[in-house]
Every structure is written in structure tokens, then in C-alpha cells.
Symmetry: D2
Subunit: 241 residues, 4 copies
Amino acid sequence: MAVNVTVWSENYHEQREEDVRRRYPDGIHGAIAAGLTELLGERVRVRTAVLDEPEHGLPDAVLAETDVLMWWGHMAHEEVDDKIVERVRRRVLAGMGLVVLHSGHYSKIFRALMGTTCTVNWRDAGERELVWTVAPGHPIAADVPRPLVIDRQETYGEPFGIPEPDELVFISNFSGGEVFRSGCCYRRGLGKIFYFSPGDQQYPVYYHPGVRRVLANAALWAAPSHGVGEPLQNAHTPIQW
Amino acid sequence: MAVNVTVWSENYHEQREEDVRRRYPDGIHGAIAAGLTELLGERVRVRTAVLDEPEHGLPDAVLAETDVLMWWGHMAHEEVDDKIVERVRRRVLAGMGLVVLHSGHYSKIFRALMGTTCTVNWRDAGERELVWTVAPGHPIAADVPRPLVIDRQETYGEPFGIPEPDELVFISNFSGGEVFRSGCCYRRGLGKIFYFSPGDQQYPVYYHPGVRRVLANAALWAAPSHGVGEPLQNAHTPIQW
Amino acid sequence: MAVNVTVWSENYHEQREEDVRRRYPDGIHGAIAAGLTELLGERVRVRTAVLDEPEHGLPDAVLAETDVLMWWGHMAHEEVDDKIVERVRRRVLAGMGLVVLHSGHYSKIFRALMGTTCTVNWRDAGERELVWTVAPGHPIAADVPRPLVIDRQETYGEPFGIPEPDELVFISNFSGGEVFRSGCCYRRGLGKIFYFSPGDQQYPVYYHPGVRRVLANAALWAAPSHGVGEPLQNAHTPIQW
Amino acid sequence: MAVNVTVWSENYHEQREEDVRRRYPDGIHGAIAAGLTELLGERVRVRTAVLDEPEHGLPDAVLAETDVLMWWGHMAHEEVDDKIVERVRRRVLAGMGLVVLHSGHYSKIFRALMGTTCTVNWRDAGERELVWTVAPGHPIAADVPRPLVIDRQETYGEPFGIPEPDELVFISNFSGGEVFRSGCCYRRGLGKIFYFSPGDQQYPVYYHPGVRRVLANAALWAAPSHGVGEPLQNAHTPIQW
């Protein structure tokens, strides 16, 4: 049965900056969606949504048909409506997978689910990033080069203000000297969350075959194993047997 | 050097219900504070704060002198000002310890730091709770009876809507058949968090010597190992050597 | 593609004790294998192996065709050849799943992979065990009753001498008052390990539909996501890009 | 009360290789012991032990007085007597702290406690190692430079064949491109274990003030919070109340 993936992106840089538009003519969301379809074919049904659409493209009807939501945002985190954030959060806690990308570390939805600052150190110097697999048995690491080499990237550095991941899959080395926990898995409520740091509007990272492989693996991994229901509720439940 | 502990309590049941007032004439916070002083003496400096005070008794000046905050709330979670919640959250992420008690599982501060529903199943039937140590090497378990027996208690049951604890110290057995992860440790930002479920306004649990021992151990454990500073910030930090 | 499961059992009680033979005429391994086949059909290919066979029924050729190994042992842990234990351990570290059952907590293979005492408290008093799900989103918990009720069982109690599980799925309540972490997940090397405590030669637990559901789920969960290769090796690996 | 630390070292390179002798005239153990005494003064009582002593310098009487054992080994792991390894392992499971250093990742004692291959990738090319703090609130990270800069070091690379650490404190960046989880905490039985990778016989790493600070912090962290007793035992323990 196909996994329903919705790729959400802010889509502001692409609209406002000529160089980003040239790099991502179909938007960052478009490039990500194309990669998923390319690698997963009929195992996935992909749609996209952007900030400027009504309800940010995430009305109840769309979320109700979404098994895995991917999230890219950067310059407009504060423009995302708190009500939509809470709607997404509830859906994750009910079982929907969430894949948070790059500068999405500072999105409202990621911060709400983590509870911490989610801050990073950073520098934009076009450095080389090497993404190393530290959990070689993990499904997200399948068929990913060791290391995955990204020639030029924005640099993220530790300390990363997150809870300790439930599973740490990737750590990156930057040629300027930093390290970063670049692939982090969490279980929250009934849902699974994967944070993956490579990817920036200034670099064509989402066309990289290794990055596409990671995102395809993540879409399958984050899909709920037994459907999306309701988040856990306060209940008054006498034991019965 | 003494640990500065602030014991915060809602203090509504005690003001409004005669039986609770008789049980806790100095308030739930008063009973907890007395237990800490009794067991820790000069190792601790204890003050209390309640919801009805200005800024809920937690102005910046008080938090700035607080190493560990204990939190009991139940019927008035929604009356706690979001600004104070955020102030406490920032202080935890900067290193202050937080000990969340019983129905405080559903407090704004605990939910904000966990990111999940924090819901429980429950039933009030005066059942016996046995608190078992599952991490016998943990400092919070030192000198705690195995099991710690509470003759009559409100029943909490799984699933408890929390992230998997970084360390699970206690699990409770209720005579009605439930189990509950009753002692859970988290590290968030620079701070440490301990959730402990025993304790209710309907039962004299905070006079129980074993419960008092747990809270005294928790106060020492949650104290910041190298002071409280600032939470992690977004930074632009070139490497220097 | 079908998952190849090998169900291993000591098969001593069944040969030596009349009541156990009546309870498990096809052996404990036979009952477990039948349950897997009943619930999973063509999604699984099941074979069995017992201690008295040459190489305990686990020659290289059998392990090479095994994706998931289930292990039940009790009275003869010390009779298991250290060489076979090491062979199984290497295969787990290379990606094979391992499901350890009940008194198998004290098997050589489980102790070798955990590194700890793996001891439990216990009592045989025919008590009722309630198995509670604490990780409702976990695939091993899918379609498992909450609670799973086992009318009569041997009692296991904490502290259980294990490393903190990577994921805790089930906690049991015993009517005599104990609790036990009855469903524990580990990742070790490239392999996944699940320990499940219900199951004893004195009780017909392996015919229980809920227990059979857990074991079927565990077989699918423990299967390697991208095949079984070699365990990690010391290497001298210059980076290449 | 002072923490009793025993620093154990193989002491073979120092005896057999002139350059190592010049670098570590008092042995690697001597340099480590001097650093602990320098930084901790009366908070610690330090002794040393080496492989060539009777019972490797670790008779029962010495272990009985040891709160924290530090372990450095490299070329002679196989010469360590299995009986001494088991004696140390039991003592750790009973509460003694263990700090494993550098090539000690492949010692019998670390492998026995971890259960995995404990293998690393490596290369000796005199590269620069930057040790980054990822858990800034952790006591082992107190007063450690960010990053801790080691000008020349042997290179270790991922994947490191360990169980996921209970707390990950440091990650290293090597100038050749590798990353390594260089500071890993574990709880096993009643004891605490810290693995720290910097340190090699070819480089004067144990004189580095930042490395000495880490080891001093680790000695205090690993000390048992409530004494060393017995490891957990199989027991038949009826509940009493």
C-alpha cells in the first residue's frame, strides 16, 4: 500500500531570490517531491503544500490523507499559524510521520514537539560536509554512501539544542572543523520524527542522489506501522478481563 | 554549598476543601518543604510559592535564586500564566532542575518541555501502590524501600503520553491491576527533569517517609552540576584554535 | 519476501516431565512455530531446532538462512556450546534478529549480548499477569489487547539486570504485586533484539492468542531491514571522495 | 569523602619503545594519575596498576578499595586473564565506575560489558582532533573547552561498534574528514561507564589540560552514588509489606 507523503515548504526564497529560483525552479518542495517519486515510484503518493496556500495547504482533509509530512522552512517560521502547528502536532502524536529538514530545526512544529531551544551554531562558508553513518543497521541508512559527500554546504555546529535522539543515525563532519548530529530519530506519541540537516536554499543539495536516498528511506521509515488514529487522551479506564 | 529549592503548589484544594485542608494544613507545598528540610538539613535551602501570589510567586528574582523547582498542580493548570510558564521553561533549559509531581503531569510547564500529550489513565479507588525500583544504581533510588508501599492512592495507568524517559527509575504496581512509569528522568537543554507520580490531595502521601526520601534524592540529583547560565542560543560561531 | 524464522528451544522439560509433554506435545518450539505460521502464513518460513541436535540444530548453513532466531531455554543454559553462542552472537551483530523468550533472559546468548547479569526476581505462584502496552505506536504492540491478560503465570519481578532498553514496549503487572519490564527492544551491531517475558513450561502461554500476536509482530519487527552481512570489523579506511 | 581511583595501564609500549618511554617516562598510567591528582587534590586518592604485576595489579583487595577504575590497553588485550576480566566486570555491575580510554575500546572488559564488536575505523596520520561538547549540561563537560583542540592525534572513525550510548557527551572532528563519538556514557548494572577516545602512546595527549579536565570530571561522575555492593542476583523474593 502506497505511503501518502505531503512535502511542505515555505516557498519564499524561491519566489523572492532569483538565484534560488534558478536553482529550484519547481521550489524546494518540488525538488524533494521529484526525488521521492524517482526513487520510490508506486510505493509512495506525493503531494506538495506551501505557506501561501489557504491554511498553508494543510487543511484537515489533507492531513487526514497524509501518512508522512516533510517540512522545510527558514525565513518565515513566525508566519506559520499556531493553529496549523497544533493541528500538525496532534496528527504526529496520533501516528503521522514527520521529517524535518535543515533550517526546519527552528520551525514552530519541531520546537513544539521537542520542547527545547532547537538552536544550532552556523556559518555559511561553502564548506564540504561529510555525512557519516553511525547506525549502519538502521533502515534510513540503507544504500547511503559512507560517507555521503556534499561538496558545498552551509555549516551547522554543535551544541544542537535538542533532546538526546532516540536513535542517532548520521553525524556530519564539516571541513571547517564542526561536527553536527545530522540524522536524528524520535518517537513522540504514536508518531515517528526524523530530523535531517543537509539541505539549504543556497546549494542544490536536494538533487544529490545520496540525500534523495536518505529522504526516500525516511519516508518509508516514518510511515505509521498501524495507521493514524487519535492522540492519547486522558481517560478513566477501569481494567476489564 | 546548599541547593536552593523552590516548592511550588497550586494551593487551591487546600483552600477550598475542608478535608484537604485538614490533611495538609500547611499546604501540599508546606508538607513537601518540611520533608526536604527534615531529610536534608543544611544541604538545602527551601522556599515555597503558590499560584495566587503575584507572578505566581515566581518573579525573575526568585527563579534566579532557584536551583531546583518542584511543581504540584491539579485543578488550575489553565490559570497558570503562559509568560510564567515560558520563564520557567527557559530557566530549566538554562540548567535549573525541575521535579514534577503527580497531577503535574498535565501542567503547562511539563507539557511544554515534553512536547507530547502527557496524558494518563486514572481511577480513584484507594488502591495500594507499590513503587518498584528498576534502576537500583540511580541516586534517586538510594535508601528507597523495595518496594515503597503506599497503602491507598489514586491509580494512574499506562499508556502515559510521554517521550521515552532518558532513565526510568521507578515503576508502580496498583492493586487494581495497572502499572505506571512512576519515576522518569529527562535531560532537556542544560537542565534535568524528574517526574514522580505518587502524591495526591486525597491521600497523605507527602508525609510518607519513602516518598520524602525520593523527593530529597531528586532535589540533589536535579541540582545543576555546574550552575545555571543561559539556554543555548542561535549563534554564528567561527571555530577558533 | 518471506522472513525466515528459526525457533530454537532447549526441549528438555518436554522430554522429561510428563505434564509438560502433555501441555506441549510438539515441544515449546512447536507451539511457537505453529503460532507464527497461523498468524503470518506466507509472510514467514518457519523451522525449528533443539539443543540435542548436532550443533544444537544451528550449523552455519541454518544460520545463514535465518533472518530471525527465537530462543527459549531454561534448565540447560550451561549445556549450550560456547562456540555456538559466539556463532549466534556474530550473526546477530551482522543483522539477524533475535527474539529471547521468558527464562531465556539467563541464556548465554542474551547475557553475552547484554553484558549484564540479566537476573530477575521470581516466584511460581500461578498469579495473573497483565501485560500493558507502554509504547502504543510500536509495531510489536499492533493488535495486542490492552491489557493482554494471562490468567496464570510464573511471576517475574524487578530489578531486571539489563541495560536500559532502547525501546520499552510492555510492562507487566502481577496479581501478587510485582511489576516487570516484559517487552524490551535493543539494537546491537546491525541486529535487533526483542526480549519478551511471558511464557513458561508450566503454563500454556504459547497458545494464548495475544502472546502469539506479540511473537508474530516481533518476527516481522526483528527482520533485518537490509539483509544480513558481516559484523563491523576493525578497519583501516582512508576517506575517499 | 575522597574517591578511590585505580589507573590501570598495559605498560608495554613504554617498556619496549624508546620514543614512548621518553614521552611517558612514568608510564601512561603515571601521566593520567598525575593529572587526576593535580586537578582534584584531596577529592581523590589515586593508585596505579599494570599488566605485569601479579593478578595484573588488580587482586580482590585492590578492587575492594576502588571506586573508579581507569583502563588503558592496546597491544596486549589478549594477555589479560579472563578471570581478572570477570572480576572487574562483576565489580562494575556492583557499582564501581569504569573509565575506558582510547584503544581500550577493544579491551576484553569493554567488549564484555558492551556485548558488541566495539570496533572502530582508524588511521594514524597525525591529524588534528577537535572534541566538541554535545551535552553542555553534563558534569563531564564542565570547564572543557569548546572545542577541545588536540593538534596531532591518531584518527578514529565511525561506525563505532557500540550500543547507542545512554548519554553522548562528545563528538570529535578529525581534519582528515572523520567523525567519532568520542565521549560515551553507559549505565550497566549498578555501575557507570565512560568511554573517552582521545589518547595514544604516539602523542602526548594525557598531558593536555583539556583532556586532564575530562578525566578528572569523569572520575567524579563515575563514582558510585551510594557505594559498591553486590551485583544483582537471581532471587526468590516474595513481596512483603
